[in-house]
């Protein structure tokens, strides 16, 4: 009790809170450790969809999973060469 109070008082962090936070992050990170075929398949599918609307440079595009301390993101980067005209 007293120990707990002193910790709160001195602003010391509970190590269990830190454990929880680190776990939550690493489990997401683990699941994003996709294998190469998944990423290649995903890239082909994305290119197909985007190509319906835009003309893109298929050689310059890049698909990456980015992780930092707060969030994980799927980043797809591609130069757009031309906007396709919509056909009815």
């Amino acid at each position: 009790m007293l120990q707990e109070f002193l910790k709160r008082f001195t602003g010391q962090k509970r190590s269990s809170d830190e454990a929880k936070q680190r776990l939550q992050f690493s489990l997401i990170y683990d699941k994003l450790e996709l294998n190469d075929t998944t990423l290649t398949d995903l890239q082909t599918d994305i290119v197909d969809v985007i190509s319906k609307y835009f003309e893109i440079d298929k050689d310059a595009l890049e698909l990456k999973v980015k992780n930092d301390k707060q969030v994980s993101a799927l980043v797809f980067n591609t130069p757009i060469l031309n906007v396709k005209r919509k056909r009815e």
């Binding site: 120990q3 707990e4 910790k7 509970r14 190590s15 269990s16 809170d17 454990a19 929880k20 680190r22 776990l23 939550q24 690493s26 489990l27 683990d30 699941k31």
Partner: protein, 264 residues
């Protein structure tokens, strides 16, 4: 009616699979069920000594799977608890002697003879794990409140889901005082992270080591908090709905003193 195969698994080693398997098996037998406990840890057999049956091994699981003996010849009957049987692992074989197909064939026979078949999986996620889960109808994942055990549990849960099993969780070796001090993940933290159904919470208990020293069933000891937790877990696995008890701090000397003097 066909029996049910339950696998107890964890990914990480040493978190309490063997303790849980022997205790839940014994508790289910005390509920009046016919139970076979199967040691799937080929090459590192343990359940026989934990259960105090090491002197009575004649045949083992590899003999059964390879057709060298019948299930009834390999199953050792516990003399203290009725309807409790152990099929021991083999100690000399390589862990790859068993194949999932072979284990599946054995499990078919076991389902005919027993109400519950409990498989004690080895640590890891390789062949031994595959063999342990191949015939499972239900899965129990056990972990302790530390980062590596929880992370491994998450991995194993993913593998079980991929086999259309919806595992239930046991958190073992909970130390209430350390949880209170913020030194140990609480069971709620673990549940938040793993988000699967909870089937029981087991406190750290000195009696676990003592009962394995002597090879006596933990669940027969009324003063074992872990043993009593496993008895409730067995009841839940057997379909009873009883509330989950959270391990809590023993009342301190001062509250005890207060009580004896009639103080609030």
């Amino acid at each position: 009616m066909e029996g049910k195969v339950i696998v107890v698994t964890s990914g990480k080693g040493g978190v309490g699979k063997t303790t849980a398997t022997s205790s839940i098996g014994a508790a289910l037998a005390l509920e009046g069920k016919r139970v076979a406990i199967v040691d799937m840890d080929i090459g590192l057999r343990n359940l026989d000594v934990v259960m105090g049956l090491e002197n009575r091994i004649v045949f083992n699981i590899v003999d059964v799977v390879q057709g060298k003996c019948k299930v009834d010849q390999a199953a050792i009957r516990d003399r203290r608890i009725d309807n409790l049987f152990l099929i021991p692992a083999s100690q000399s074989d390589n862990k790859d002697v068993l194949t999932p197909a072979g284990v599946e064939r054995m499990a078919k026979v076991l389902r005919q003879k027993f109400d519950y078949v409990i498989m004690d999986s080895p640590a890891g996620i390789e062949r031994g794990f595959e063999n342990s889960v191949v015939s499972a109808n239900e899965a129990v994942v056990i972990c302790t409140p530390d980062v590596s055990a929880v992370r491994d549990a998450d991995r194993v849960i993913g593998l079980l889901y991929a086999r259309s099993l919806e595992p239930k969780l046991i958190v073992n070796r909970i130390e209430p005082a350390r949880v209170e001090r913020g030194e140990m993940l609480s069971y709620k933290d673990v549940l938040d992270i793993l988000s699967i159904e909870l089937v029981g919470l087991v406190p750290m208990d000195e009696k676990v080591l003592i009962s394995s020293n002597t090879g006596t069933p933990l669940v027969l000891q009324n003063d074992s908090t872990a043993g009593q937790s496993f008895r409730r877990i067995a009841k839940r696995l057997n379909g009873e709905t009883i509330p989950i008890e959270v391990p809590n701090l023993k009342p301190s000397v001062w509250t005890k003193l207060g009580k004896t003097f009639g103080l609030k």
